[in-house]
């Protein structure tokens, strides 16, 4: 990887989700050289882990494929996966970005034929499915993974299983001696697009996510609904594998709460509204969704989507933040307790499954690698970006895909301006 050439007219993009990919493609299409660094083994970020997108309810593959095509076809973009930024030093127009590239143990010869995984039996939790199931320790991160190249989990190195995998590969693509590499990249500007991660639901003690099998998170629910997911798209209860038809959604689970995340995560109301569609899609009129909410925040044009869900007879809305959840040991059902705000009626409502609409928090702490201002929740302050490091997408705020992409485009424009300034100085 010593062939990575970078100058102070290069734009380094950190994070290969929809925001980072957008930034990379747009900068490259204006003629800039881009290095895209992604921490995980493949691009796409969390959008890939959704079953469908609101508001149009299309599959994430469609938006993603267009971006991938633009990205693959552009020689100005260099993608490094398993790449972790250690430090960003310098100033606008002249940054040194230190990066560690972790070994994949599989090289460019890989055709993703999968022969290597054949003889392997060791299993590890599958992070693509939020650890809901396991996968072999020699794996393709997801069906849509880019690059389409297998990975070997580091825990396998030094075991006979690793040797078996190597022997099974017909393309001589496995290199068990691969080492971590340290690189220092020169860059004129940096776009920081490390996205978000779900709030740790176990911390919301009264909801018992860590105690009750049938209390799950909204991101896990996306995987259950997805035919490529751990249940092949069937909504099955973790406790007993039975179909869950009566599903409760709890809004603001960890958001708008001074004990957890102070901010409104902005997309989770829409995510739950969307997920009631999954229930309808699977069960028709036999499914039941109940949304427990403080207030529904379906911003601007999403109002139509909200009204459509409101009109669906299988969806009920209860204006109340659930106080706590208990479990009926025998049936595994969850019982939600609280008081509703419209009339102050006390309820003890039983459901098959409860989905916590968890909040979004920053995916990475940029302050560990660079001196950049963040807000009280750790999101990058857009207005403070006076030098050459710009936040994009969910690294700057809790955003839906549309807004994340807008934010990425805006930041890319700023990065391009910095790089152009450098080019002018050098041309003089």
């Amino acid at each position: 990887m010593a062939d990575v050439v970078a100058t102070n007219e290069t734009i380094v993009v950190v994070g290969g989700g929809i925001s980072g990919m957008t930034a990379a493609v747009e900068a490259a299409e204006t003629g800039k050289d881009v290095i895209l660094l992604e921490r995980s083994p493949s691009l796409g970020g969390r959008v890939n882990q959704l079953y469908r997108y609101f508001p149009k309810l299309c599959h994430p593959t469609c938006g993603m494929e267009i971006n991938l095509r633009r990205l693959r076809g552009n020689p100005r973009i260099r993608v490094l996966t398993l790449a972790e930024v250690q430090k960003i030093e310098g100033k606008a127009g002249d940054y040194k970005v230190s990066v560690t590239v972790h070994p994949r143990y599989v090289n460019e010869n890989c055709t993703a034929c999968g022969a290597c995984a054949g003889p392997v039996t060791t299993e590890i939790p599958n992070p693509f499915n939020y650890n809901l199931n396991k996968m072999k320790a020699v794996y393709l991160p997801s069906a849509m993974a880019y690059p389409q190249r297998y990975c070997i989990d580091p825990s396998l190195i030094g075991t006979p299983e690793a040797e078996k995998a190597k022997a099974a590969c017909p393309h001589d693509a496995i290199d068990l001696g691969m080492q971590a590499q340290k690189l220092t990249l020169t860059a004129g500007a940096v776009v920081w697009a490390t996205g978000w991660r779900p709030y740790d639901a176990g911390k919301i003690q009264p909801y018992g996510y860590d105690r009750f099998a049938n209390v799950i998170t909204s991101v896990e629910f996306e995987r259950l609904a997805d035919p490529r997911g751990p249940t092949k798209g069937r909504i099955l209860r973790p406790s007993d594998g039975k179909e869950a038809k009566d599903i409760a959604f709890i809004q603001c689970a960890g958001s708008r709460d001074r004990n957890h995340l102070k901010h409104c995560s902005r997309i989770c109301c829409m995510a739950s509204l969307k997920q009631t569609n999954y229930v309808r899609e699977k069960y028709g009129d036999d499914g039941k969704s109940t949304i427990y909410y403080i207030d529904i925040r379906a911003i601007d044009r999403f109002e139509d989507f909200y009204q459509k869900v409101r009109a669906d007879g299988t969806v009920r809305f209860i204006k109340s933040k659930v106080a706590n959840i208990t479990e009926d040991r025998e049936s595994g059902d969850v019982v939600l307790h609280g008081v509703d705000t419209e009339g102050y009626h006390r309820y003890d409502a039983r459901h098959d499954l409860c989905v916590l609409a968890v909040g979004m928090q920053p995916g990475a702490d940029i302050r560990a690698v660079a001196d950049v201002k963040v807000d009280a929740s750790g999101f990058i302050e857009v207005a403070s970006a006076t030098d050459g490091i710009f936040g994009a997408g969910c690294a700057t705020n809790a955003l839906d895909v549309n807004r994340a992409v807008q934010s990425a485009t805006a930041s890319t424009l700023r990065a391009i301006q910095v790089v152009n300034r450098m080019a002018k100085v050098e041309g003089q």
Binding site: H260, I294, A323, G338, D340, Y344
Partner: protein, 207 residues
């Protein structure tokens, strides 16, 4: 006391929220409530309340002054603090409940027969007299607050606990005749008087 009430009504007209903000302990927090309902659902005594805290806060904003101040609800609070630790907005709900109860009491609007109010009053008079609780007098007054017969019955029901307390020195059997107060009783009375003055001034009560 009725005069206090009239003067407050005149001072704040229909703005009960303002009145609460100015006169009730931690009352300034009331407007921060976002009506999520977590406090109402988290209260272990919740089902016994006529109006849970969430509803009380809304009633204050809606100016339902009489209903709030005459309510038994805030007297139900046992200070378990469940609501405070869970409120997403960190309202000091427990303190507001006690503040409201105290305010209603001072205006003479609190329900006369509310047992919590009566106990609190007996307890306060007891401790304020000598600076130290006289357990025997307190128990006797409490048991007999609903009349002689009820008092005897309650006393009998509690007798084992009473004897146990005597044995461990927690209850002085001669307390009605010889109660050991604090050393400087006069000083304590002076201090309490001063505290009352300060509170009255702060809350705008006419002395």
């Amino acid at each position: 006391m009725g005069d206090q009430n009239t003067s407050m009504v005149q001072k704040y007209r229909n703005d009960f929220l303002k009145e609460v903000e100015a006169n009730v302990e931690e009352g300034a927090w009331v407007k921060m409530c976002m009506q999520c309902g977590v406090c109402a659902g988290s209260c272990p005594l919740g089902p016994a309340w006529e109006h849970p805290p969430q509803e009380i806060f809304m009633m204050i904003r809606a100016g339902r002054r009489e209903e709030v101040l005459k309510s038994e609800s805030m007297w139900m609070c046992t200070s378990c603090y469940n609501c405070i630790v869970r409120c997403p907005r960190e309202l000091p709900i427990t303190h507001i409940m006690h503040g409201l109860a105290n305010y209603a009491h001072r205006l003479g609007l609190a329900p006369k027969m509310n047992p919590t109010r009566r106990f609190a009053k007996i307890f306060w008079d007891n401790i304020a007299k000598s600076g130290r609780v006289n357990e025997l007098e307190l128990s006797v007054r409490l048991y007999f607050m609903d009349g002689f017969k009820a008092g005897v019955l309650k006393g009998l029901a509690m007798k084992d606990i009473g004897i146990g307390m005597m044995k461990t020195g927690r209850l002085n059997p001669f307390g009605l005749f010889a109660h050991k107060g604090c050393k400087d009783i006069k000083g304590i009375h002076k201090m309490l008087k001063k505290a009352y003055e300060i509170e009255d001034r702060k809350k705008g009560f006419v002395a």
